[in-house]
Symmetry: C2
Subunit: 319 residues, 2 copies
C-alpha cells in the first residue's frame, strides 16, 4: 500500500445509545423511573436514531431495571427513534414485546468461563436457549440481533480464538439472526486484532451486519473504532457520558462515551446524524443527574471547535 | 484494499520517555532534585533507550527545571540510555552541551498564534533564531532534532494546513535538521488526519525521520499512534503515568502514558524493548511520588495479561 493512499472510511455510521441499559444497570444507586425517562427523552433530542432502552431481565438479577415496562411505555412513542431491548430469556422477550418493543437484543459470551460466570451455563447451552426466543419474536414480527460478549478478550481466559466467534456467528445465522454485535466487554481488544478479525468475519459472513460495542478500559476504544471503520463497519454502540461497564468495579471503565465517539467521528469526516453540541449538553446533564461520568474526554476538554482566546503575555513552554 | 489484507505495522519502535521534561514542567509544586534523579534512575530500569531528561530554559520561565545541570550531571552516566534535552535558545544549548548532553531538541509552533503566545515571535522568526543553535551544536558534534508544536491543530487557530508544516520541515531540513517531532500539543489530532499527513510528509521528505508526540486530551492518542504505525512511523514520545500537558489547566490532559503505549503496542504485536511490568511498577511509584497521574488507563485497569479468577455464583449481566 502506498503511504499516499487515503484510507476509505464509511461516510455515515449509525450509533446506538446504550446508556439507558448498559449505563443504568451499572449504577448501584436507584435511578427513579421518571429520571430514567427524562434522560431518554433528553437523549432523543440529540438526533440519535437507535437506543437500547432497557433490559427485560428478572428484577432480582438487576433491580435497577425492574421498571423496564414503565420506561418503555413512557418513551416508546418518541419520534424518529428505534428502540431495542436486551432480553435474557423467553419471559423477558414476552415482556419486551408486550411493552411494544420491536427489536430484541440477545446475548451470550464468547468463552465458557465468562458464560458460566454470567449465565451459569456454557456458550453452547446459552445459545441453544435462544431458539424459542427467536421463534417467538419471529412469530410476532419483531427483529432480533445477537451479541457476543468478551469477543475481543476474556478477563478469565485471555485471548479468544476467531474460531469460537465464527462458530457462534454461524449458529446465530442458522437461527436466523443476521445482525451481530461484537462486544469488547472489558476493553481487551486492540486495533490490529479488530482489523484482522472483522476482515475475516466479513469475508466469511458477507450477509451478516456487524456492529461494535467497545469499552475504553485500556484506552483502546477509539483506535478500535478506527480499525473497524477501515473494515467498513457502520454500526457502533456508545453510552452518554461513558456510563456503564461497572465504574465502581476496580480497574473497570465505561463504554466509549457517545460525546467522544460523535466528536471523534466528526473529526474523521464520518457523519452520524447526531448533533455534537446537543450531545455534549445532554452528557453534562446526565453526569449531573447520575452524579458522575464514566471517563468522558470531551466533557473534560471540550470539542476541538471550542477554540481558545490567545492569552496575552508569554506562557510556559507548551509541547 | 481487500478486507482480508493485514495492515503491516513496524515490528519494532522506539519510545522516548518525556516525563522528566514535559511531565515535570507541568507540576506547579517543586519536585526536589533528588526526587527527579530517583525517578529518572527508576525509568532507566524499564529498558527505555531514550529520554528527554530536562529543558535548559531560563529558570524564571520554568522554575521547576532550574536544576537542569544537576539533574543531567547525576544521570548522564546511566547505561544504555540516550538523553536529549530541550533547548529554547543558544544559551540553553551551551548549558546543555556543557553538561554533557549529546542531543538537543529544538521547538517551534506550527501557527503564528501559538508561537506568539509561547515564544513571543512568529513561526518564521522563531525558526530563524534556531540557526546559531544548530551551528553551535554541529561544531560540538551534538545531534539536533526539531519539533513542531500544535502540528495537528492549534487551540487558537483550529486546523493547521499541511503547507505550514511542510514549509517548517523544509526549513528545518535546509538548516541540517533531519529528525522532526510532530506534536499534537493539545490533543486535537485524529487518525484520518495523522494517516494522511504522515503519508504525504514521508513522500515529500523521504530522508527525514518523523517522530510523534501525542497527547490524549480528547481520547484520540492511541488511535493516532495506530494511524502513524500504519505509515511506518517508528519513533514515539510518551510520559510515565501520563504526566504533562498541564493537568491543572481546565480541559487539558497529559501525554500518552508510557505504560498505556507500551501495553497497547505489545498487544498490537509491536516490540519496544521496554519491560511492561517494570514500566507499570515505575508508573505506580512515580504517581505516588508526584501525587497524581495524568490519565493512565493501565494504572487503573491493569494489563490484559492480568487475568481474573472466575467468580463463583452468578453475576450481573455484563456486556
Amino acid at each position: 500500500m502506498s503511504n499516499l493512499q487515503t484510507m476509505q472510511l464509511p461516510k455515515h455510521v449509525s450509533i446506538c445509545e446504550v446508556a439507558p441499559r448498559d449505563g443504568f444497570q451499572s449504577e448501584s444507586e436507584w435511578i427513579p423511573t421518571d429520571k430514567k425517562i427524562e434522560i431518554i427523552q433528553r437523549l432523543a433530542t440529540t438526533g440519535v436514531k437507535t437506543m437500547e432502552v432497557t433490559s427485560f431481565v428478572h428484577p432480582k438479577a438487576i433491580p435497577q431495571l425492574k421498571d423496564a415496562e414503565e420506561v418503555v411505555e413512557k418513551t416508546i412513542d418518541l419520534p424518529n427513534i428505534k428502540f431495542r431491548a436486551l432480553v435474557p430469556n423467553l419471559k423477558g422477550a414476552e415482556r419486551a414485546i408486550n411493552s411494544g418493543i420491536k427489536k430484541l437484543k440477545l446475548m451470550l459470551s464468547a468463552t465458557d468461563s465468562h458464560s458460566l460466570s454470567n449465565a451459569n451455563c456454557t456458550v453452547q447451552e446459552a445459545q441453544d436457549k435462544l431458539s424459542p426466543i427467536i421463534e417467538f419474536a419471529s412469530s410476532r414480527d419483531v427483529e432480533v440481533g445477537g451479541s457476543i460478549s468478551v469477543a475481543f478478550g476474556c478477563p478469565y481466559e485471555g485471548k479468544v480464538s476467531h474460531k469460537n466467534i465464527e462458530t457462534i456467528i454461524r449458529r446465530y445465522n442458522e437461527m436466523g439472526v443476521k445482525e451481530i454485535s461484537l462486544a469488547d466487554t472489558t476493553g481487551m481488544g486492540n486495533p490490529v486484532q479488530v482489523f484482522e478479525m472483522i476482515g475475516q468475519l466479513k469475508e466469511k459472513f458477507p450477509n451478516t451486519t456487524f456492529s461494535m460495542h467497545f469499552h475504553n478500559t485500556r484506552g483502546m476504544a477509539m483506535a478500535n473504532v478506527y480499525a473497524a471503520l477501515m473494515q467498513g463497519v457502520t454500526h457502533f454502540d456508545s453510552s452518554i457520558a461513558g456510563l456503564g461497564g461497572c465504574p465502581y468495579a476496580p480497574g473497570a471503565s465505561g463504554n466509549i462515551p457517545t460525546e467522544d465517539l460523535v466528536h471523534g467521528l466528526a473529526e474523521m469526516g464520518v457523519e452520524t446524524g447526531i448533533n455534537l453540541s446537543k450531545t455534549i449538553t445532554a452528557a453534562k446533564e446526565v453526569k449531573k443527574m447520575i452524579g458522575h461520568d464514566g471517563g468522558s474526554f470531551i466533557l473534560k476538554a471540550g470539542p476541538n471547535s471550542e477554540l481558545h482566546v490567545k492569552p496575552s503575555g508569554q506562557s510556559k513552554i507548551d509541547n
